[in-house]
Symmetry: C2
Subunit: 196 residues, 2 copies
Amino acid sequence: MGRPTLADSKDTRSELTKVALEMIQTKGYNAFSYNDLAERLNIRKASIHYYFPTKEDLGISLIQDRLKAADVWQKAIEDKNLDPQGQLQAYFDYFAGLSQNCTRICPVGALSSEWGSLPPKLQQAVNALVKRHQVWLSGVLEKGRAAGQFNKKGAVEEQAQFIYASVQGALQTSRAQNNLDYFNQVAHQLREALKA
Amino acid sequence: MGRPTLADSKDTRSELTKVALEMIQTKGYNAFSYNDLAERLNIRKASIHYYFPTKEDLGISLIQDRLKAADVWQKAIEDKNLDPQGQLQAYFDYFAGLSQNCTRICPVGALSSEWGSLPPKLQQAVNALVKRHQVWLSGVLEKGRAAGQFNKKGAVEEQAQFIYASVQGALQTSRAQNNLDYFNQVAHQLREALKA
DNA sequence: GCTTGACAATCTACCACTAGGTAGGTAATA
DNA sequence: TATTACCTACCTAGTGGTAGATTGTCAAGC
């Protein structure tokens, strides 16, 4: 049926990315198929291959989108002129929102857990996104020290790793424990750990 | 070919559990098949159904084994008469060893990440195992306070969650970053956080 | 203004392969 | 002789992926 009839959905490609992302967050990379996506968008699965020739392409494109989204988010945070503590809190809030009542986890955490089954290029993309997060966190910690908000000694890079790992684990475990408070409690512990 | 010929392998069932566990740790629950297991053990896949009628049964049995293993481990630690700090370190060491040079993660973390694709009974089993870990950690923290080793204030249960989440996240991220030190650095941060 | 043709986005129909799972047979052991 | 631990052979339902037709849209040429 030719061109998009223009009324259906604004953008099949971005709808696909959106639904695929959701499925990775809820079920994992290996637990959804092109058929699942097709049914959700009410299209035939061959159409998905038009946008993403292989599932690997889809996965990589999806992660690259997250990279761009991280850029946008970081710039938006910059514009809010929050102090470092506020920026860290914004980071926690972002992940708390992403959790959607313990139904979803971070897509990067999901993919990391299935590491051995991921194609190398997808692994690379995930690796890069993790690094980006940690670099940003390191920057926030650095500024927070200068401002006297984080007094914990030691390499900021290692503290950034600490934050990142804890956030990922907290999202996953809060879902497995079906405990809405779990994530916030871990975030609280992290704040405390960085102060003193 | 009838009975085990008694010379092949000691115990097909436990070999199956062992290999399945390894595959969950390296690739995830949805990324291995009965065929994969069959090839590794050099048997036909129908034979696997003799021991584990469904993949769900296999998963559950596997997690219950981990529960028993946790029991054994905890009792062994008890017998070593370590102080609470030493016990916590033993906990970290256990997971550091399990990582196998950044090739494996905790099977519980792997399953937690694929949560939405797991059958409910398997979810239950995972949930119970997570709880067991956290209860044990809470106990160690309690004793550590009495001994003046952990001076951080707050509910021990929340600190136990903190430790558990961080350990899980650290294992996953260390693999995704291919960084052998990652886990130990996070463990170090945790120790520090609990002291003061 | 109408025709034409290129292109974008979708479709139907298929492929080879793998998934988990079942039925029923067979051989060694206790 | 019953049971245990395997086997061969098969089933159905999917998997990711491909080939090639189809059709709405738009821009250029007449």
